[in-house]
């Protein structure tokens, strides 16, 4: 059952071959059996899950089901879900029970999806390895000594180990795509503004975007249909007509123009990652696509720009954690300032404190123009590079990550080295474009390689079709780590 796609599971539910309660129990059992070795899921509430599944069964019996009704979904622990502990991977929120639902959660609930639990993540989504979580690192299902990527590492590892058919994630600088690549699953970061940020614990508000993680492009399209939509409670939510993201699936790729940025195939990429990507591009040529070299000359600046903008916005967003209204409060303190300082020093881990410091510095008196405004200007140059590239191609392709999964602990002592993990993903967030990572083979050590597809604004339906056609011609997305097969 764990190998089936969402569409297949939906079919079984509709034809009464299984119930939603049975499905929920099946995945809860897999979590009980495998999660101890992965640490991918950090909160379960079987009673709530089974109650939601029973409600889904009643809805199916009443003939009011839609595709996702009865499908179990794991939520990254950045999404508030009413009545569920919601920690954001932080000691600060270790005991926080969300008093309301994130828009994305409410939308999936309304479709009848069943909340299966909450997944581990880098603290406040700040990390590329899932090692900054207060609840300990997630392990990569392909090899337990390796990181799963981050920050949506728990969601990606859960899909790789088939602990759930679907999971949510968020992507500020690559946090859906990079773990999807390192775990050998599919993940989509939509165009900025199409999924509401309401109830998604804020990291860098001008970059944060929610998206789905699943086993196939078709599953991503089904999830995206339910997750996105205008929400007045998010001031950056875009008012657009609803789309059916499955509508382009199956269209031929004849004449598709694939842009290959020369910056994506530079010396920094692991050679067998480059080989897997080249083989994937060759597959696209067999499917009728042409390739054209494009250039993103300012891409190298995306990391410096990101490490100004994201920490600046984070330092502002995280100012709310004061030990007064909710979250951790230090046990011992003197005056009010002392309470704030001790609470925040105890509640935040090292990476979060570091980024608050960077952000506070670049926003402080005398530095705002030199850092924040400067970074926002270069952000426009980066977006303009993509606009120029999309005049010559329909989609940009390249590796999602310069390397496959790396050893736990191997980059934690050097933040700059860790930051470089996201060299191919960050520019997409800065420009606000949609990006997708799909499995595209393995390196010499048998670890999954992710192919990144970047489209123009609002091109999700087409991007998903490009991935879907590739998945019709290959079976990389069907591979799973042997240890979790039965």
């Amino acid at each position: 059952m764990f190998q089936l796609t969402i569409a297949e599971l939906s079919q079984r539910l509709a034809s009464r071959q299984c119930s939603s309660v049975e499905l929920a129990r099946h995945f809860l059992e897999r979590i009980a059996r495998f999660n101890a070795g992965l640490n991918a899921v950090i909160t379960l509430d079987a009673q709530r899950t089974l109650a939601a599944a029973a409600a889904a069964d009643a809805r199916i019996a009443a003939g009011k089901a839609v595709t996702l009704t009865g499908i179990p979904v794991l939520h990254k622990d950045i999404f508030c879900a009413r009545g569920w502990r919601t920690t954001c991977g932080s000691r600060m929120l270790e005991n926080f029970v969300a008093p309301y639902d994130a828009h994305v959660v409410a939308r999936l609930d309304a479709a009848g999806a069943v909340n299966l639990g909450k997944t581990n993540m880098d603290e406040f989504a700040m990390g590329s390895s899932n090692e900054s979580s207060y609840f300990g690192p997630v392990r990569n299902p392909w090899r337990a000594s390796l990181v799963p990527g981050g920050s949506s590492g728990g969601s990606a590892a859960s899909i790789a180990a088939r602990l759930a058919p679907a999971a949510t994630g968020t992507d500020t600088g690559g946090s859906i795509r990079q773990p999807a690549a390192l775990c050998g699953v599919c993940g989509l970061k939509p165009t900025y503004g199409i999924a509401s940020r309401y109830g998604m614990i804020a990291f860098a508000s001008s970059l944060d975007q929610a998206g789905p993680i699943a086993k196939s492009a078709h599953d991503l399209a089904l999830l995206l249909n339910a997750m996105v939509g205008f929400d007045a409670r998010d001031s950056t939510s875009l008012e657009r007509e609803p789309e059916d993201y499955t509508r382009a699936l199956g269209q031929p790729l004849q004449g598709l123009r694939i842009g290959l940025p020369k910056e994506f195939f530079s010396a920094g990429v692991q050679p067998d990652v480059a080989r897997a990507i080249e083989a994937a591009i060759a597959e696209y040529r067999r499917l009728g696509a042409n390739t054209v070299e494009v250039s993103l000359p300012n891409m190298g600046l995306s990391i410096p720009v990101y490490y100004v903008l994201a920490p600046a916005e984070a330092s502002s967003n995280l100012a709310r954690y004061d030990g007064v209204r909710y979250g951790h409060r230090a046990a011992e303190f003197g005056d009010l300032t002392d309470m704030y300082e001790r609470t925040r020093a105890e509640g935040f881990g090292a990476e979060v404190r570091r980024r608050i410091m960077i952000g506070t510095y670049v926003l402080s008196h005398g530095y705002y123009d030199a850092y924040y405004i400067k970074a926002q200007k270069i952000r426009r140059l980066i977006a303009a590079d993509f606009a120029a590239a999309f005049r010559r191609c329909d989609v940009i392709m390249g590796p999602t990550s310069p390397t496959t999964a790396f050893e736990l602990g191997s980059r934690t002592s050097d933040p700059v080295q860790m930051y470089l993990s996201d060299i191919y993903t960050i520019a997409v967030n800065l420009a606000g474009l949609p990006g997708l990572s799909i499995p595209a083979g393995f390196d010499a050590a048998g670890l999954p390689v992710g192919l990144q597809l970047i489209g123009d604004y609002f091109s999700e339906a087409r991007l998903l079709n490009y991935a879907h056609r590739f998945q019709g011609a290959t079976d990389w997305h069907g591979r799973m780590p042997q240890a979790f097969v039965e």
Partner: protein, 95 residues
Amino acid sequence: MALTLDDVRRVAQLARLRQNDAQAQAMLEELNRIFALIGEMQAVDTSAVAAMSHPRDVAQRLRPDRVTETDRRDALLALAPLSEAGLYLVPKVIE
């Protein structure tokens, strides 16, 4: 331009983050490595470029000025580390 230990202490105070001397020293070294990376921005001429705050250059949406939230005082106060009689409790600020 490198940061100094005084910068680190000042910023930690602005950010309300308690740190001891060893932590401040370690933070200084980490921040200086990161700012060396960030410094690559300064080589770019941006004199003719406008800052970009939203990828779609969308302006903030306005809404009518009316109450939309319901009263959930008790549920929200229940999340506080310390509250009493409908109020958040903090250390005394005025003697």
